[in-house]
Symmetry: C2
């Protein structure tokens, strides 16, 4: 594989997204939006059911361009999954870090999660990790590693929330932050699955509310 992204050393001054004056024919696509389209497809249909033709059509890139830009199908899948995780993390990290009461933090996290899982014109899209990556995880060690990282990252983020809350007295002394974090993650997982089965948003919200009530009163 040839080194591609050697950015011209002159342009390294300001982080401005100024045109780097590349040398050959300009690309007819924007890698970021193309990757987004690929992500949508993989998320809806999974790895095996998404063909390169589908990806080509959705991104507007023909197959060789796809190949040149992202590598083979598996690499594209992995990059898509990476992108998904980055987006999801970006959407949640502020809330996890926010200095707000436990209940409010949970409510906001789940609202974001529902937004992610329920969006999509051709039906709710669910969660990439739960829907397709976990399936590939049995046979593909790299994907498995990413899935595991995602799962523990979520557990940890929730764990910090509950630990904070206990320290502030929002939870009883005997509360077990790790166990509650696992339950919070489990609630994420269950709504991802149910969303995929087209359970309507209000029902999912009811499930979330019930879960929050239990978790916030936990002794």
């Amino acid at each position: 594989m040839v080194q591609k992204n050697k950015k011209p050393p002159t342009a390294a001054k300001l982080g401005a997204p100024v045109a780097p004056k590349r040398r050959g024919r300009p690309r007819a696509y924007e890698p970021d939006v193309a990757l987004g389209k690929a992500l949508d497809l993989f998320r809806r249909d999974g790895f095996a059911a998404t063909s390169l033709d589908d990806l080509s059509a959705a991104t507007g890139m023909n197959r060789p361009s796809l190949y040149g830009a992202f590598g083979d199908k598996r690499e594209l899948y992995i990059k898509s999954y990476q992108r998904y995780r980055d987006d999801a993390r970006a959407a949640m990290v502020d809330i996890f870090r926010a200095d707000a009461p436990l209940r409010e933090r949970l409510e906001r996290i789940y609202r974001i999660a529902l937004d992610i899982y329920l969006s999509g014109e051709s039906g709710p899209r669910g969660c990439f990790t739960v829907m397709t990556a976990a399936s590939e995880a049995v046979s593909d060690p790299d994907i498995r590693t990413m899935v595991l990282a995602g799962l523990t990252e979520l557990d940890k983020a929730f764990g910090i929330c509950f630990r904070d809350a206990r320290e502030r007295g929002e939870l009883p002394e005997g509360a077990d932050p790790a166990a509650l974090a696992h339950l919070a993650s489990a609630t994420i997982h269950t709504i991802a699955i149910r969303a995929r089965a087209r359970v309507p948003r209000n029902e999912l919200e009811a499930i979330v509310k019930g879960a929050i009530d239990v978790m916030c009163k936990a002794k």
Copy 2:
């Protein structure tokens, strides 16, 4: 489609599995075990990644026989899923009906679930519903119906457990059986996903234990 299973009226006396003296060439396979093999494949690889050749090899039936016995690939997938649900239900129904303390019932249910999810020689197999059926559910209404039925069935079974427990005083009056049932289902879902990522059994058991602790003390 031609009516196939008209059993000879004479043999209808005893439910004995006596040879029904069918007319033509005898089958070289047993439909039940063949369906079991197909189920294993679909569960491991999903719908799209499982080819008819794979199914043919695993069942020992050649493709035309497969087709004749179970219909096309989608029908075989649905029959496999049906079989999975029947097996899972059979494995749990006694425990759900048992007249035992809440904690014990939960422990037994989760032990069975872990057995189901973690078995399999080529890695843990996870849950058919969570791993592959939920993915197909967006685009296939029949599968979606089955998935929804499975989800609500589990919710209801857990719901009865918690209602019983509250009536017996094992739970505080204020406990919300429906919310707890959703959490119990969520715990099933989260261990199914984690199992697929090869989280070892003892970690899954720890997660289950923490969840049970919270659910059994819920106020």
